[in-house]
């Protein structure tokens, strides 16, 4: 039985575990049909031309973990940004860990999707928002069909979240191969502000496949800063489907830091549904060793006077492959749009590959849209310059790579996170120099 068949047939077992006579379950039932019909995406589909899921789909994944596993904080502390006070929503093998979490209902809800699905007081939010931004492509549908657990965050209006929220998913390796499908819903009401960090981390070398869906709704004048740290083990793969729906004057930024994992696909979609919106999509990718990272972005400008900024930097070594596919749609109505997109890449090994493709579909005539992509190598003149000042070759390379990617970090507003990422970059580049600029 292949993975698709296994998933489809396990939907029956899933239905025995959840309430079926609900609004949400109707959506799930529709979604499993979409997945059953379409299956996993194939390379012949334009959006998957450069990313093949074949290899990672061959593992015999458990789709429901058999038992609950516990972790002690000290075992996993290093994966948290622990220097600062934060709310925490933590999952172990897909199950909520109350022991490691720090949630709240005090003036806002930082809690669980399972609670939001089941408790009547969340019904209105679920009916107004759940699955309203997500597309119905096969992977998102697959997640929707099995949606049961994840992070639920609702910040009511005129509220500062006060401290960042960390969402962490650990996999213990208790199962020989595990598939996870977290589902997150984030609703930020008028004038409110929240910062969210998300990380998926496996603790052993057993294969893990995560197919995650996150819906973010930023209402009028809301500010959302979302940071994804992707530095997982070599056998862990992640398909991240994130949908951001913005109302007027809201500002949402998503930073994606991809340093590790076997295969990562980021489907990041922004929909602008009001005027004077700002959307920011930034990323740093540094990979080698046959790793594969694919950024597939969409910004859909639907209303006038909005901005979007995309800045993705990639550094690819060994046999690594990178993909950037950035689509910007400007509707006829969306006059005075200012859309910027940049994708710059360094290939530091002959065997590394990058496929980059900007896609602009502009139907308005009074807009400012610019895009640029570059693929280059380290500059020999710069190398000589650094080395002539006593900086050894390896460190000189690291400094040039860091300098290349650095401007993406400038907009990270959480200092401790920035420091953490600097440290990961130094480790990744194999040098022991502080990048604390």
């Amino acid at each position: 039985m292949n993975l698709k068949e296994k998933l489809v047939s396990s939907f029956l077992a899933f239905e025995n575990q959840v309430e079926v006579d609900t609004y949400v379950h109707d959506i799930r039932s529709q979604a499993i049909k979409v997945f059953e019909q379409n299956g996993f995406p194939k390379k012949k589909e334009e959006a998957w031309k450069y990313t093949s899921l074949n290899k990672i789909l061959k593992e015999d994944y458990s789709v429901f973990p058999k038992q609950e596993n516990a972790l002690e904080y000290h075992e996993v502390k290093r994966y948290f940004v622990h220097e600062i006070d934060t709310y925490k929503i933590v999952f172990i093998d897909g199950k909520y860990s109350s022991h490691l979490s720090d949630t709240t209902h005090d003036g806002m809800d930082v809690c669980l999707m399972s609670a939001a699905f089941n408790k009547p007081k969340y019904r209105l939010i679920i009916e107004n928002y759940f699955n309203k931004a997500a597309e119905s492509d096969s992977l998102t549908s697959l997640n929707t069909a099995f949606s049961r657990e994840g992070a639920y965050i609702h910040i009511p209006k005129n509220k500062l979240a006060g401290k960042p929220i960390q969402i962490l998913h650990f996999s213990t390796g208790d199962e020989s191969a595990l598939m996870l499908q977290p589902r997150n819903l984030i609703v930020v009401d008028e004038n409110s502000h929240v910062e969210i960090l998300e990380r998926h981390q496996s603790l052993t070398d057993n294969p893990v496949l995560t197919n995650s869906v996150t819906e973010i709704f930023a209402n009028k004048r809301a500010i959302v800063d979302y940071y994804k740290v992707q530095n997982d083990k070599d056998k862990a793969s992640l398909i991240d489907n994130t949908y951001v729906s913005q109302k007027q004057q809201s500002r949402v930024s998503v930073h994606t830091f991809s340093f590790g994992g076997k295969l990562i696909r980021n489907n990041l979609n922004f929909y602008q549904k009001g005027e004077h919106i700002e959307s920011t999509l930034k990323g740093i990718t540094i990979i080698g060793n046959k790793q594969h990272v694919d950024h597939n972005t969409l910004v859909h400008h639907q209303e006038p006077n909005c901005e979007s900024h995309q800045d993705y930097k990639g550094i690819f070594g060994d046999y690594a492959t990178g993909v950037f596919n950035g689509k910007v749609i400007v509707d006829k109505k969306a006059q005075k749009t200012n859309a910027y997109q940049a994708n710059n890449n360094l290939l530091i090994d002959d065997k590394a590959t990058i496929n980059t493709k900007p896609q602009l579909e502009i139907f308005a005539d009074d807009v400012k849209c610019s895009h640029g992509c570059t693929i280059g190598q380290l500059d020999n003149r710069a190398m000589f310059y650094l080395r002539s000042r006593g900086i050894p070759e390896k460190e000189a390379r690291a400094i040039l790579m860091y300098g290349f990617a650095n401007n993406v970090l400038e907009s990270v507003r959480i200092r401790e996170l920035k420091r953490r990422i600097n440290q990961i970059i130094a480790n990744k580049l194999g040098v022991n120099i502080g990048f604390d600029l």
Binding site: D379, A382, F384, R387, S388, G390, N407, I433, F435, D436
Partner: protein, 250 residues
């Protein structure tokens, strides 16, 4: 300190230096002058260790050691510094961070501990004041968007921070106005001591009004064709290079 014997070197099969002999002792300032294309910058690059250049004949001894096999950074660790004619722009790396890394990597290579942060800070402050460098300048990306004069001053600032034994100034005067020239020269003069040496490479004499050389050498077509004292520089300024060409060919 530096002894070059019968040095022949070139790049991509093209020979540029065709038998250079030069000896520089501690405490001395030497100037190498010559028309464009005579091999001045090649000489600087070969001593600094640029890998594209191949030495086909001859030797370079630095403090008694043949340095041909040493890498660029190893030469830097031993105290050789070259100020670039065209300093490279490095976006995303601040001047301060670059210099800190350079100093600490050099100290590491010399078996010393990293410089304590407060000592580093004091040194950065003192040396930037000495060269009339605005503190804001230190947190800018290295050379990015710097004017020609700022780039050159930044080179001398790096030199002041790294305190090399042998400083090679490759056309440091080009693109400088007279005030910047004075500041650069002043920096070099302050750093002069009994134990270090400076090799000034220049097309024009005017820098040598401020950095007074002990010896002046004229480089033409890959060879030193004439050496003399500081008065030779004035003579070149007055008469140009043609008279030497005539003298040599005779």
């Amino acid at each position: 300190m530096l002894r070059i014997n019968n040095l022949h070197a070139g790049v991509e099969g093209k020979s540029i230096l065709k038998g250079i002999d030069l000896e520089i002792k501690p405490g001395e300032i030497h100037a190498i002058m010559g028309p464009n294309g005579s091999g001045k910058s090649t000489l600087a690059s070969v001593v600094a260790g640029k890998e594209e250049y191949e030495i086909s004949e001859g030797e370079i001894f630095y403090e008694g050691e043949d340095i041909e096999e040493l890498s660029v950074e190893e030469r830097a660790h031993k105290g050789i510094f070259m100020s670039f004619q065209y300093p490279v722009e490095i976006p995303g790396v601040t001047v301060t961070n670059f210099i800190k890394t350079a100093i600490n990597e050099t100290r590491k290579a010399q078996g010393k501990k990293e410089m304590p942060a407060n000592e580093m800070l004091k040194m950065l402050r003192d040396k930037s004041e000495m060269l009339d460098i605005d503190r804001k300048f230190l947190s800018r990306s290295l050379n990015e968007g710097f004017s020609g004069g700022e780039k050159k001053r930044n080179e001398i600032f790096q030199m002041a921070m790294l305190e090399p034994k042998l400083a090679i100034l490759d056309e440091t005067d080009s693109g400088l106005d007279i005030d910047a020239l004075k500041i650069v020269a002043n920096g070099v003069n302050i750093l002069r001591s009994e134990s270090n040496a400076v090799l000034v490479i220049t097309h024009y004499q005017r820098l040598l009004d401020y950095i007074i050389p002990d010896y002046v050498h004229v480089l033409m077509d890959g060879k030193i064709v004439k050496s003399g004292g500081k008065e030779l520089a004035h003579e070149l300024e007055e008469k140009g290079y043609d008279w030497i060409k005539d003298e040599v060919s005779v």
